[in-house]
Point group: C2
Chain length 232, copies 2
DNA sequence: ACATCCAGGTGTACGGCGTACACCTCTGCG
DNA sequence: CGCAGAGGTGTACGCCGTACACCTGGATGT
């Protein structure tokens, strides 16, 4: 009865296929609509079947993060630390843009998986290879924070904006009245598109700007031999 | 029958009391254990009663954020922009330390509330008052990101660590083997307490270090008249 | 004084979630 | 041939957010 319609028996599941299907489904329908039941259906299987391959939903999410982190390019060799780290982080960013749900999930994991630790370890290693002291590297990693994964907390989570242009104009006017400073910087960034905050501002530029500002700051501290015990 | 046990009739609910109770409950039991049913019980009321005061759980969370943001000190007057912003952000950090769930919730809101916009607006205003161009202020706000709320994504979400010291030693050894770089910086930071990554490192120091590095970077750009169209 | 209204609180019910637990059904191996 | 164990099933439980109809007591208008 439960035979495949196509005659061929469905290839048996395994952890990897489950994780890849979960990633694909999250890409498709968003992480908030990813449920065990959902995913099972996608795989042509009953919900409880998944539990033969992942312990529970938390581990499923862990595994999904691992898949995503696995897509980040390995470090390039033969350049200075700054270029190498920059490149790696931008690669991470590329991955996260393909899996928009991933940043949230990464942040939400209570314990890092070995794959995640590997990535972190390798980033730390890149600073060390660049001659950074253990001390400075440590603090610098904290400053880098989630940017090491290629994302920044969105300032304005991209409001959809009412389609009605008259409404839109009214909203803009109200914004300008109530939040003049925000309106000002939003205007400056949005001249290219008819939208308010969040849109019309080049996320990639913002991200690279931030990363470069950080890396420059790190470099400066490094060059002046900064130590946590000997600061200004 | 449903009279108060103490004889006195329960004071009628209102939006504010609901929000404050929700904040207190989240402080107590954690945000993941805050449910409408839960909260209703705490208030001595049936779950559906809450919906007379908040539209749904999302709006409840919005309101909780508003309460928390309302606890942030207003800007101090009469100092330079750098000191003023630093102080304000550190005040925000103080608030978020009292409500550890709040950072997650702030990040999760799809639309900023007026209260949130007010806060952002005022931070933007502080840069502008410091003479920053609209352009630079805009980018700088992006770099600041969630740090403006006084939090940073935790690098290592504070693993509880096995109590058994022998187990602990074994874990440390394994860490050092598999993730030598991480182990190294963790060691450097953890000499004061017998714990591995996450603990034993002074979060407050890390945060202030990051904020100062950012503010210094901003200042430098400002002083050299940086513009997005005229960069190196 | 009486009718009316309605803000605030109740009770029931629905559909969705994660997942525990007992079961069935193949496949490969002795 | 028998049996074990991996992989898949079915049922059920307790939680969640919340729609909807209902009740109730005090303020209000006449």
């Amino acid at each position: 009865m439960v035979q495949q319609v196509d005659g061929a028996r469905r290839a048996p599941l395994n952890r990897d296929r489950v994780l890849r299907a979960a990633v694909a489904l999250a890409d498709d329908v968003g992480i908030e609509s990813l449920s065990m039941r959902n995913l099972a259906q996608e795989l042509g299987v009953v919900p409880m079947a998944l539990y033969k391959h992942v312990a529970n939903k938390e581990q499923l999410l862990d595994g999904m993060v691992d898949v995503v982190v696995g897509e980040i390019d390995p470090p390039v060799r033969g350049t200075d630390w700054k270029a190498a780290i920059r490149q790696r982080i931008l690669s991470a960013r590329g991955v996260l843009l393909r899996h928009p749900w991933a940043s949230r999930v990464i942040e939400s994991r209570p314990q890092p998986t070995p794959v995640v630790l590997d990535y972190m370890n390798s980033i730390v290693g890149m600073f060390r290879a660049g001659g950074f002291s253990v001390d400075l590297t440590h603090h610098v990693m904290h400053v880098l924070g989630s940017r090491m994964w290629g994302f920044t907390q969105e300032l304005f989570p991209a409001s959809p904006l009412p389609a009605d242009p008259q409404m839109q104009a009214a909203m803009l006017r109200e914004m300008a009245g109530r939040y003049p400073h925000i309106a000002e910087i939003a205007m400056a960034a949005a001249h290219d598109e008819g939208s308010v905050v969040g849109h019309g501002c080049d996320d990639q530029f913002e991200f690279e700007f931030a990363v470069d500002l950080l890396l420059d700051g790190f470099e400066r501290l490094h060059q002046q031999g900064w130590t946590s015990t000997n600061q200004a």
